[in-house]
Structure formats: C-alpha cells, structure tokens
C-alpha cells in the first residue's frame, strides 16, 4: 500500500474488498492527512446524498394513436383542401387584419372541436389593457374574464418571428394575465410554440407563431391547451384569411428552413425524426455593449434535433443555425463585428478561434471545444453567421441562406 492510499479512501464506500478496506481503515487511524481526507469525502457524500425536495410531477402530454384514413376520405380531404385553398387565395386580398368578432368566432369553433370548455358556451370579446389593445384582440369562453379558460389572445396584425420576444415580454409583464415565463415547446408542424411555466387563474398558456399569425391560448391543462392551439390553427387554415405562408424575408427561422431545404442538408435526424426550427434569444446576461453581436440577439434560429429539449437553454452548434442581423450592415461594419470573442467560462456565449477570410465577404471559424464550423457572410446590406458540423456544410448553408435573402 502506498504511503497515502488516496484513491482507496475516495472510493472506500464503493465496494472495496474486505482486505483493502481493513488496510485503509488502519491507515486512517494512524494518518492525520488521510483522516482529514476521509472526513472530506464523507462530507461530499453527504452533500450529494441530501434528498431533493419533493416536486410535483408535471402533467405528461399523452401521445395519440395514429388515425387510419380511408381512400375516399383522403380524396374528400384533397377536394376540401383545394376548395379551401381557393377560398384562401380569394380571401387573402380582402383581409389584412383580424378583429375581435372574428377571433371570437375562431375560439368558439376551436374550443368545441378541442373539447375544451363548455360545449354550449359562446366566446365573447373582453377588454384588454391599453398597452395591448392597439395590436391585440381577446376573447374568453362565455365572455367572462374571471374563469379558467379557454381564452384566445390574437395579434390583430401580421407578426414576424423576430417580434415574438418583445411580445412575450409585454404579455408576461402585464398584470392582467400573470402568465409567468414562456419557454419554447416542441412542434413538428412548421409552427413555433412557447408554453408558460406557470399560470394564473387562466390556466396553462401557449403562444403560437404561425406566419403571419401570432396568438396565445389558455386552457386548464397543458394537454387541453395543446389541443386548443391545434384546433385554432386548423380553424385559421380553414378560414378565407391570409394563408399561413412561412415566407418572411427577414426572419431567421423562415430563412433557415428554406435554406436547409434548398442546400440539401439533412431534414431528419439519425432516427428519422424530422428536425425542426427552434428560435433562440441569446443570453442577455452578457452586456450588449460589450458584445458585438448584441444587435442580432432577437433573430437567431436553430434547425436541429432538440425536439423535446427545446426549452433547454442550450444548443449544439453542429446542427444548422442562423444568426441574422436585422439592420443593414456594410462590409466595414461586418469586419468590426467579427472581432474574436472570449468571455469567462461561466458566461461563455460564443467562443471561437479567429475568423479566416476564405473569399470576399466570407469568413470561416471553428468551435473552440467541439467539432462545429461557423461561416460569416457580409453581402451588403446582409450580414449573418451560420453554423454546421463541417466546413463544407457550413459554407453550403451560408450560400443557400444568401440565395434565399437575395431571392426576389
């Protein structure tokens, strides 16, 4: 045995044989240093073993069984879809805003179809605080604002993805709702959703961005809220309003979705599950003044396999990501934005090796601690950064993003 059997002391309770344990115990009895180490190890074990306080088990969203669709039903659906599409195309030229009576109509139908709230209840408009009334309209089941859902808050004007963060802040800080914090929720239908982590008497809230619409629904439980959101979307698709388009030229998620597709980059993960976009707002704890990317904070999107983990504040950069600057940016400004960045490890945001120019207006760099590549592109007025697993894929994605931005 060595003079101080430190390894054995540190693992004394992990299954040493009796002989080893006996020798360690005898050594500890004679050695102050090792006795102190053993006490420290016991203290560490005690800290880690301290039980976590009991936590309420969150409600689990129940997967639903697939529905078998008969051939005639499929044909019928095709016809209905064609008719609805025609109606949408005709209607889109007439309707640019959604008023309260229209939103209430959507809620009434959606609540019935989702089985949320009383079947016979009618939705009626409710008054909103002055800070929201200009651009929002709201309805409650039965027109009563003092009961737990369902509610529908509908943005009455088209909404771009990069506006969402500000809108969620406005909703969260409005005393009337007390929605609590919104976190991203998984979707696989091309929309983006955020779920409130706590609710007031209004129940669980979910915000949905379905270009060009943005709305918030509330219901008594998460499952009911998800059903209601899906029913509202179905109703929006059915109505002769501007169609769901996903055509934004400046929204990072919309651009990224199209660019990944046109670049031929993977749209499914290794297990065949579809990748989806996740909107991110970079860590605001880093003072924007000290961070050249501060102006791009609200327009960041990932196209990745984080489904189910999307509310986590972390992302793997070897998937496709796009950080798109909203302001017009000159080449000179872009050069200034590409300064190497480094922060203390507990506040790491975007640590990279130095940028290397690979052609006019295009720079390449690599992650500091893992295999991912980033390409920055300046092509006035555009400036953006993409990430991917390899140099080739990152360059391919960057070219596809630029083509999307420049598409007439």
């Amino acid at each position: 045995m060595t003079a101080h059997p430190l390894e054995l002391i540190a693992g004394m309770d992990d299954g040493l044989d009796l002989d080893q344990k006996d020798r360690v115990v005898r050594h500890i009895g004679e050695c102050d240093t090792c006795r102190s180490l053993a006490r420290t190890m016991q203290r560490i074990d005690g800290l880690i073993a301290t039980p976590e306080p009991a936590l309420p088990l969150p409600e689990r969203a129940t997967p639903r069984e697939g529905v078998r669709v008969a051939g005639w039903a499929f044909a019928f659906a095709v016809v209905v879809t064609l008719v609805a599409t025609m109606a949408v195309l005709v209607g889109s030229s007439r309707q640019t805003q959604v008023g309260s009576s229209e939103a209430c109509g959507v809620l009434a139908v959606a609540a019935r179809s989702a089985g949320v709230g009383a079947v016979t209840a009618r939705a009626a408009a409710i008054e909103l605080p002055a800070s929201l009334s200009e651009s929002w309209t709201a309805c409650a089941n039965g027109g009563r604002a003092d009961r737990a859902g369902p509610w529908l808050l509908f943005r009455s004007r088209p909404t771009e993805g990069q506006e969402v963060r500000g809108l969620l802040v406005a909703l969260t800080t409005t005393d009337r709702f007390a929605f609590g914090k919104f976190s991203p929720a998984s979707t696989a239908d091309g929309t983006e959703r955020w779920i409130s982590t706590s609710g007031s008497g209004l129940g669980q809230a979910m915000a949905v961005l379905a270009d060009p619409y943005f709305f918030v629904v509330t219901a008594p439980s998460r499952d009911a809220t998800e059903r209601l959101a899906a029913a509202v979307l179905a109703e929006l698709r059915r109505r002769p309003w501007p169609p769901l388009s996903d055509a934004s030229k400046t929204d990072a998620c919309a651009v990224l979705r199209r660019a990944v597709s046109s670049a031929g980059l993977p749209t499914k993960d290794a297990s065949g599950s579809p990748l989806t976009t996740h909107r991110h707002w970079l860590d605001m704890s880093v003072p924007a003044d000290n961070w050249p990317y501060g102006h791009m904070l609200t327009n960041v999107c990932g196209f990745d396999s984080d489904a189910g983990l999307s509310s986590l504040p972390v992302v793997a950069l070897n998937d496709s990501h796009l950080i798109l600057r909203e302001e017009p940016t000159t080449l000179q400004q872009a050069n200034g934005l590409l300064a190497p960045l480094s922060f203390p490890s507990d506040r790491t945001v975007f640590n990279v090796y130095g940028w290397v120019q690979i052609e006019a207006g295009m720079w390449l760099t690599h992650g500091e601690d893992s295999p991912w590549s980033a390409v920055a592109v300046s092509d006035e007025p555009y400036f953006f950064v993409v990430t991917q697993a390899t140099d080739e894929a990152a360059i391919q994605l960057a070219r596809a993003v630029l083509a999307e931005l420049k598409r007439p």
């Binding site: 190890m41 560490i44 997967p63 963060r165 976190s183 955020w194 983990l309 986590l312 972390v314």
Partner: protein, 172 residues
C-alpha cells in the same frame, strides 16, 4: 441494454401502461434530474424527454421490472448530452421574471451547480450512487460500462466535486 433507434408504435393499451410507469417512476426520476439540473424547468423538460424517448425506442415493457434501470439509463444519457451541449453554447429561452433566491435552498442550489459544472460522466455516476442509492454493479449495467470504470468515475468525481465546490465558494 442498448437504446434502439427504431420507432415504436404506441397503442392505447401501451399508452396506459406508460402513464402508469410515469406515475410510478416519475417522481424519483424528477428528483434525480433535478439534482443534475440548474433549474426545475430543465429537470421537467429532461423528464418529459426521458419518457418520450423511452416510448419511441424498443426497450423493456413499461410494466416490467427492468423498466426502472432502463429509464434511469435514458435519463442519464439525456442529462449527459444536455450537459455537453451546455458547454458549447448557451442560450436562454426567454428572459422572464425569475423568482427571488430562497436562502434555505442556497446550499442545495450550490450542490446542483457544482454537479452541473462537473464532467457529466462523473456527476451522473455520483448522483446515481449517492442520491439514488444504486450499487456500482447496477450502475455499470445501467451505463453499459465496467464496474471498475464506475468506481473510477466515482473516485475522480468526488475529487472534482471537492475542487469545484471550493472554487464556487463552498466550505467543506
């Protein structure tokens, strides 16, 4: 035990069995994941993903005796994966209103933060051993590694915990 990527159809009966498994094992798994996560929201999301992944992949029947270690295995893989990602890039989902810190929970919060800052292979081994009470041979089967590798992770983990705990201001 290996996770298979093949998707698994979920029948109504199967869904009911998974509901029961969630109610039976969910609380313990949530506490395990909470110990490894800096926030409760993250622990809940990891729990949600654990069951989602368990239902998607081919493993033990939800009513079998083997389901507990299987769920711990999936939860551990997800927690390790999440921790590795956290080291690469950090986003916040939304700058909402955070609750004020509770002094009574400072100590437990510090332990969580220390574990989260450690190499995830070490922190998960420590928590499985000390918080969840699994023996090294059980952890070895669960993680698909040898017993000696488990013991090595535990020894190195305790040392790393000490170093990180003291660096973060804790007193042992």
């Amino acid at each position: 035990m290996q996770e298979s990527a093949a998707p698994m159809p979920v029948s109504a009966l199967h869904a009911a069995e998974w509901d029961l498994a969630y109610r039976t094992h969910g609380h313990a798994l949530l506490r395990y994941l909470r110990r490894l996560s800096p926030t409760q929201e993250m622990a809940e999301e990891l729990l949600h993903e654990t069951f989602a992944r368990a239902m998607r992949t081919q493993g033990p029947e939800p009513s079998s005796d083997d389901i507990r270690p299987w769920l711990y295995r999936i939860a551990t893989n997800i927690a390790i994966d999440q921790s590795r990602r956290a080291r690469r890039f950090r986003f916040v989902p939304f700058l909402g209103i955070e609750p004020a810190p509770d002094r009574d929970t400072d100590q437990i919060d510090l332990v969580r933060r220390v574990l989260h800052a450690m190499p995830p292979e070490q922190s998960t081994a420590l928590v499985l051993r000390l918080h969840e009470g699994f023996a090294p041979p059980e952890i070895a089967v669960m993680l698909g590694i040898s017993e000696s590798a488990v013991r090595s992770r535990l020894v190195r983990g305790r040392r790393k915990f000490q170093e990180t705990y003291e660096r973060m201001g804790g007193l042992l």
